[in-house]
Point group: none
Chain length 217, copies 4
């Protein structure tokens, strides 16, 4: 029995099948991907879900991204790096004290990442770094290291200006970031478990206060 030569000749019931064509498409897909990947992780994410959330079908994703992994990588690259760049720009143009700059950077990070969908990214990277070594390296260099450099610069500035004590820069930098990072990551992970009453604002305030207190001359 020979195989059917033609696969389908779909019932041509008239229904308009797709609408838009502008190329906001890749962005829309990345945005949808961010939500789904951030919620589920890489492996547990179904591209069908991403597609549905983006308002397209599976096939469309492949028009713009080689495969699931490429989409994942694009997502990481294109969403988080700009945040760092923005911080760098701020630092560059900032004319106030190092203390003020420190505080602004911390609060900006929380506002731009901690409280938005981007909060999923650090958690995603922590979860998947082992499965995507090159991506992890990219992230580590373009996000983590750049972030550290940014913070180190602020500290150095303060030291030079006589605002801060002479400290071990690498250590001080990490100690400045880690309460922030951990809050972002843990809140994303345990949102549903955490007691309602916890006051993030006060947590941030206190960190900034204690940290500046500890590092000031």
């Amino acid at each position: 029995m020979p195989a059917p030569a033609v696969k389908r000749r779909p019932s041509r019931a008239a229904r308009p099948r797709w609408r838009r064509r502008k190329s906001a498409r890749p962005e829309e897909i990345i945005h949808a991907a961010l939500e789904v990947f951030a919620e589920r992780g890489f492996a547990a994410t179904k591209l069908a879900d991403v597609a549905r959330k983006a308002g397209v079908t599976k096939g469309t994703i492949y028009l713009y991204f080689e495969n699931k992994e490429a989409l994942f990588k694009a997502l990481i690259r294109e969403t988080i790096v700009p945040v760092i760049a923005q911080g760098e720009a701020l630092a560059k143009s900032f004319t106030g004290t190092a203390r003020d700059l420190f505080e602004k950077l911390v609060r900006d990070y929380w506002r731009l990442v901690g409280e938005t969908a981007l909060a999923g990214i650090p958690r995603l990277m922590i979860a998947e770094a082992g499965n995507f070594p090159e991506l992890a390296r990219f992230y580590y260099e373009e996000v983590v290291t750049r972030g550290h450099r940014l913070m180190s610069g602020v500290l150095e500035r303060g030291i030079k200006a006589g605002e801060f004590r002479k400290v071990d820069l690498a250590v001080a930098t990490k100690l400045a970031m880690s309460p922030l990072m951990h809050a972002v990551v843990a809140r994303k992970a345990f949102a549903h478990c955490m007691p309602e009453g916890f006051d993030v604002a006060r947590y941030l305030d206190t960190h900034i206060d204690l940290y500046l207190h500890g590092i000031s001359k």
Copy 2:
């Protein structure tokens, strides 16, 4: 001579078949599972890999665990909770100052978790919390919250003893833990990307020092 066309046809010849003490099996499996889950995450972990690492076959896992999820849960429950319990016991029996207890707890945690295979657990939970809500709740209550309670107790002790200032306990607790937690999680994730030279010991020392400095009267 063409390559062997068939993937495997296991020579069912006599392989040495040592049988170990039966009751050790579940622990062996959990140990193997810890390594693999910690490296890959839940979804990307293949039970075949766990089995191989445990020196058994896939089927054997099902003798002891209902399914992959149950194994994952057992893994979380049975490995990390004892660490907390140990910390609680220490705190209970500790007779020195709150400062010293704080320092000991921090260093113990690093020694028992940060530097062992257990370091994978917090990262795993952060990665998978969204996919396993009840497990997340269990973890949050039996590990995170108990850990916080432990730390809060130490702080309270210090406050009562007049060692520490009167601070917001919840916030102070989280600020005590987060540099530790973040270091554990990030080091596990980015081990291969981090610069060689970073000195964790000094990081811990500095955290302890700064924190105690900040909280002391």
Copy 3:
């Protein structure tokens, strides 16, 4: 700078858009299709490849051909049948001996099919006959049978003229063709594997020689 994350976002800028004479399109497509189908077979051929090779887009193919199968059929029908017709015309108008006609037909076939892109057709049909029964029947009747009839006619002519012995026409016809057909098909398939040195001309010469020797009175 990270790799571009998005596969393509075709610069919709003005590309020069020459329009060719419309009516040449189907032929161009068929020609492109011949190359690709002949190389890959029906199922493994992507219409995108055919389109690219024809210098059009996928959609354009559907302006001229109902679907992939229709293109395939058109390809077969329109390329190979004329060759047979040409042979028939030659035979009709030929006035020399049957021997000479035989030789000319064999050499013409080699020249027109064996050494051109058309050589892919017999191989294609052999490969896909099972999947396209009606097409196979069409091909068998319009090409194979007509070819046989042509050859049988030559043999009959020779017999009548007293040049050839009285032989079983069906068998003698097939024996006349098969070395030719096999050479076409096998050379197409194993072009890259065959030793360089093989001399097709001598193969043909010898076949003609031996065959005529065998069939002559």
Copy 4:
């Protein structure tokens, strides 16, 4: 909404699910694959069909073969090479005249390949050579070339024995084989189109007769 952590917990309706375990399995699968591949070609073959025909499920195929391509290659390698080997063995031990050996080899090939499921193999290779270059090379060397060498040996033997004329071995070999090969291939392809009445036996007889006639002193 978190993803369901466990994928399935199949309705455990008791039905015996599989039976055999002996490892005739790979052979059974190859046999089934031969039938389906030979009928459809590589790309149009669905592994589900192969599985069904082999009496197993798709997954089982992957127990024994890396993937579809590996199965295809195994199929070619393991089915056809033995036939050549058998011919070589026959030639080695044969003590009669070269004429008789020639005749026996031709008839054996027809009996062992032309009239069995193996007839699909040459056609398959001709169809897929372009898509599987290394396999084509393997086939060309281990089947085609070995077959030619076998036939060349017979001819040489006849020449040395004074039975045959001194001919161009390469050409004579190919002319000896091609009517056979073409018949195998074309019959497989056009079985359903060919007129009932054609007498293969007589075709073979005539080829043997004419060929020996042509080559004899």
